[in-house]
Amino acid sequence: MFAVCLLLLAGTVAIWSVFTDGSDPGRFHLRGVTVVSASVIVFALCVEHLGLAITTFVSFMIAALGTSETRWIEVTIVAAIFTTASILLFVYGLSLQFSIFPRFMMQ
């Protein structure tokens, strides 16, 4: 009940504010949105199966597609360093229960 009231109110205000001021928000930057979502989704889908190491590296590289300024050799090195550092921090430093490598390789 409370929630429905809120939804109605929010909706009314939304419609009202759309009609009252039509300031130009500027162009949406689709590349950023796509790349960031792709990278996040890949991370979420893979981390349980492929482990932290591969997933982080791959998502990092996908994220790097976000700007045309990327230099690939540089990014690969940074991605490798970052992956190692995050494994050290989260798995060894904070001793969280993550699988580092793909399941099939662990057996």
Partner: protein, 501 residues
Amino acid sequence: MSDLVSNLGLGFSLALGFQNIFLCFIGVLVGTLIGVLPGVGSVATIAMLLPITIGLPPIGALIMLAGIYYGAQYGGSTTSILVNIPGEASSVVTTLDGHQMALQGRAGPALAISAIGSFVAGSVATIFVAALGVPLTKMAMRFGPAEYFSLMVVGLIFAVVLAKGSLPKAVMMVLFGLLMSQVGLDMETATARMTFDLPELADGISLAVVAMGLFGFAEVIRNLEGETSREILKTKITGLMPKLADLKTASPAIVRGTILGSLLGVLPGGGNIIASFAAYGLEKKCSSHPEKFGTGVIEGVAGPESANNAAAQTSFIPLLSLGIPPNAVMALMVGAMMVQGIVPGPQIISKQPDLFWALVASMWIGNLMLVIINLPLIGIWVKLLSIPYRLLYPCILMFCCIGIYSINNSTFDVIMAGAFGIVGYWMIKYDFEPAPLALGWVLGPLLEENLRRAMLLSHGDVTVFVTRPISAGLLFFAFLLVVAAVLPSIRKRREEVFVEA
């Protein structure tokens, strides 16, 4: 008075323990490190680092988070002065004179005066927190559910009135936050609400997920627009320490900024942003040469920086004494406390005095560390600033992903945060403030719980909110605030405050 001293003694004896002082040190250091990175404000910093503190004991975790907060704030000022990019809203005004000073080769004194001002302000504000904590808690103990409900209404209305940008949009954000906070199982009947039959939503959406999405991912997407390379100060920073004359002109500004900031910080809804803007305005009015502001006068850095830091400290007061977070950062602190099994509210100070006093003492220690760490390390921060964003943002993104995943081992949370990132980007584009949303989010469950309790106690009689004097007073105050915000003359002034400074 002697109570205060003995309590502070207890606090210092705890906070000075080896582990806590170490955590405070790490917090301030890491907070500054991440806060210096452009495009990462203090909310995003705390959200990113929240998962790291989960494994710590409660006192240590809170001390570390508080340290991260001051560090991030100071880091934000550093980027304002050196690269003219404010790390967050509260250091926008610092760019005006701070960056001008840097261009004139006086970056050292600007950074130093900002650290000194912050330290003085932090010390005074710590005493303020310690002195006000107990009486406020005593008052809060007399509050029933009805009073709490009304108090939160006041808080939410403050958040709307003090938010920048259009009023209807701020109202919308608060309502959206309240709505989203209702997702999950009903706390009394355990009926699933708005979960769309997804078991992952039964526990509700955690604040860390929202915060990382709205303040972390969304910022990254926005920064990816256009050119990411930026102008970095080429001149070498020489002569760190300010001259005696600088200190002389800056000290009254520091005092004024501290007082103003301590008072405004208590207000809900971005008190430290208002404080820094107001302090800049005040300095301009008090100055004998107002026309020089904007060209690199040291008062223009000292005033707002002190105010902003004082406000950052005193914003802990409503959280610790009433259990009500006044801004998004404090909302995250509530999240951290809940994870540790601490329920924020007036009972903390009586039931867990060690926690309260250790936190207060650590505030002062944290501020001292800021000065000690930052003045010699400025060179390193400057180097960090020259890391190009093209390498930085994938790191930020991945760190957030791993962080969210580590909280619950839930990939669903990671995707949710990504979705909030896109929503947040849309909100930035259309000038919606995410801060009121976060506040609504945190206050939502508290608001509902107290509303229901009040209704139970009064057997469903709604008039309970206006027949109890404190509650009625609070609601009347809330009503006055609404009227004030809608009145055209005040509305104009409100816009001026933000535009002018």
